[in-house]
Symmetry: C2
């Protein structure tokens, strides 16, 4: 008789956002008239901008003619897209990353879940707490995280780095040396950032200790302050210790188009083996490329026309973020994030737990947010709101929250 | 210091089709004038049909307007597509499969590589020999296949089921009981099929022995003979022992659009745990859905207009298959496949090895095929040609092969 992967049975509950979805669906069914405003999941609401729509139509037409039809994509992604990413996101910032160090994918969620596969079964991971659940859950599925303690909501074999008010929502270098360090800045869920000097300390630490940093840069486009790095490759020495994950979801609204990229410098080696070669092997064996039309859309993101249109879109969401931040502050909440991030991180009032506040907000204001505790134990007592709604809904939601 | 996944280092060479690509590129560089005809990789050449192009344009327009924009897709895929698959591919054939047993994905290659994750680390797999390399390589990456013997080109912990002239290119029930049985019919690479009675024996065997069949039905649209099942769910009892993988690549030319589906009946249980729940958890945690526009294209595949257009396209490739089959037969080759498949499987002449014949064909006829030995040791002495080229190239290739 076959056996299943028992690690799956150790996972607590189901995926956070599936849970929220179910709770909201149940509430909606009970109160069909309730005008729910969703500020929970980090999904965008603004449409794909005209310049990218045009590129999509053009690529669709190409697929409809034999002379311009495209079948299987190259393993690593089309060169036109990898070149555009290398040039615009790295070389333009003075970072030494070349097109053949870029692997195109169908999104940063898949990459951040899959990247652990190229590491040994016994590597120890370190994560910020609170944290995007995918990093921990995928390592748990692979059997790396030990046993789960439902009381403390932690795994026995994970190094948690608390990011709370006390630490300024930044992680401190861990006492126990991990092998794999997941960092996401601007941070999901707290919206916090690291300055370049702070990130440089992590790069130096990883090089010194022989650790690898998985750097999730999905939200870099929201950075407004100077001295906040847009990529880890702005730091010296990152080429020997870091893998970066990029997304087109938040800078260009591709949540429903699906496009991302993983950057693995060829200098990143374990003994004689480059991690680049391992990921290339994984990509070639288990993946078959992002759709041609979506890769063409990704290329269009870097055109002058799209850049101008996307700048407006990002500013729209940034205005939402400021509106939420200021509104909550005015209402007496303790708030962070927002300045370099589409996320607003707030302290729940009156000692409520995160899920209590979730229910309270859903019932009293018909506003959906994300319970901080869903991101880890240090998220308890916190709550995440996102700026990805419409401006009208954002204003309305804040008005409702102020009233309760 | 971190460790890598050492299993990757046990893998022989790189992925088969990457190797072929490199060999052809080298030949092309040395002989830029050579009019190469590619009949190696199973990639289609006919464009996306007009009815599907129209659906793509419509969906692109939807993405360009806020009212019709689509962000993250539902975990399992959009209901409109799952319902279309359930209705047309299953219920229309009398198979009891419902929309919520279908998981939409970005292709059968990913699914066939990822499905092993939900099984225990020590399950024993059985594969046909020759076989699509992804099944074995992904289990090797997970550490399930033991050690690799370069001399015999086999893994110590895999049950190989030879499919040769002697077995009529069908596998026999293995002597050693496996936990996971990968079957692909119509077969890649041999083009062989199982009759419904033959497949029923495998279903009965799996139910009796407590094994799971991973059934890859990517090529079902090429079936021309009656009594050949289009899905394993035509067999009685398959709901308690089978997972089916479906592709839109070969029936609708989606190799560059990326769309597939995995079907896991809710009756398929290991003790109290449904495999459906495990795959749902994996899908929700590591995957973020196929693009909305591609899912709409998938829905359009089932429209009357697209059906008529696709029928013509399939018949075009089937004509190619017959042309190759008959041409090689006339030239004195021993040939199989083609009747229910886009693949033609031939015996190499003059005791040549598969790679010798690959080089011979590339040099003398400028035709690229796939060495049978790349699919496993029992593929040695065989060679695969595909019918996915243009008719003109197919005729020309066969003329050249006849001349040498």
């Amino acid at each position: 008789m076959y056996r299943i992967n028992e690690n799956y049975l150790k996972l607590p509950g189901s995926y956070l956002f599936s849970n929220i979805g179910k709770k909201v669906a149940a509430f909606s069914e009970a109160h069909p008239e309730a005008p729910i405003i969703r500020m929970g999941i980090g999904d965008v609401t603004q449409p794909i901008v005209p310049a990218i729509v045009e590129a999509l139509h053009k690529a669709v037409d190409e697929m409809g003619h034999a002379e311009t039809f495209h079948g299987y994509a190259p393993d690593q992604g089309y060169e036109f897209l990898r070149t555009a990413i290398a040039k615009n996101d790295y070389q333009a910032r003075g970072c030494d990353i070349s097109a053949d160090e870029i692997f195109v994918s169908d999104g940063a969620k898949c990459d951040s879940g899959n990247i652990q596969e190229i590491f040994g079964p016994d590597v120890k991971i370190a994560v910020c707490d609170p944290v995007y659940p995918v990093y921990v859950d995928t390592n748990a599925m692979a059997g790396r995280t030990g046993t789960y303690d439902a009381r403390t909501e932690t795994w026995s074999n994970v190094v948690y780095m608390p990011c709370t008010e006390a630490t300024g929502f930044s992680p401190e270098l861990p006492k126990e040396t991990p092998d794999l360090i997941y960092l996401c800045f601007p941070n999901n869920p707290t919206g916090a950032v690291l300055t370049k000097d702070q990130l440089q300390k992590w790069v130096d630490y990883a090089n010194r200790e022989g650790a690898v940093i998985i750097y999730d840069a999905a939200y870099e486009v929201y950075i407004t302050e100077e001295n906040v790095p847009h990529t880890i490759f702005e730091c010296e020495g990152a080429r020997t210790c870091a893998i970066e994950l990029r997304s087109f979801s938040k800078n260009a609204g591709f949540t429903g188009l699906r496009l991302g990229a993983t950057i693995i410098p060829k200098d990143l080696k374990c003994g004689e083996t480059t991690l680049h070669s391992l990921w290339a092997r994984r990509h070639g064996t288990k993946y078959n490329g992002a759709p041609y039309i979506v890769q063409r859309a990704g290329e269009a993101v870097y055109s002058d026309a799209a850049r101008a249109q996307l700048k407006e879109q990002i500013e729209y969401y940034q205005k939402n973020a400021r509106t939420i931040y200021q509104g909550l502050k005015d209402a007496g909440y303790s708030v962070s994030g927002a300045v370099n991030s589409p996320y607003i991180w707030l302290k729940t009032p009156d000692q409520m737990t995160s899920w209590e506040f979730f229910d309270f907000l859903l019932e009293k204001a018909n506003v959906v947010g994300t319970p901080g505790s869903g991101f880890g134990p240090s998220g308890e007592g916190y709550f995440r709101l996102t700026a990805f709604g419409t401006y009208e809904n954002t204003v309305e939601a804040i008005e409702r929250i102020k009233r309760i």
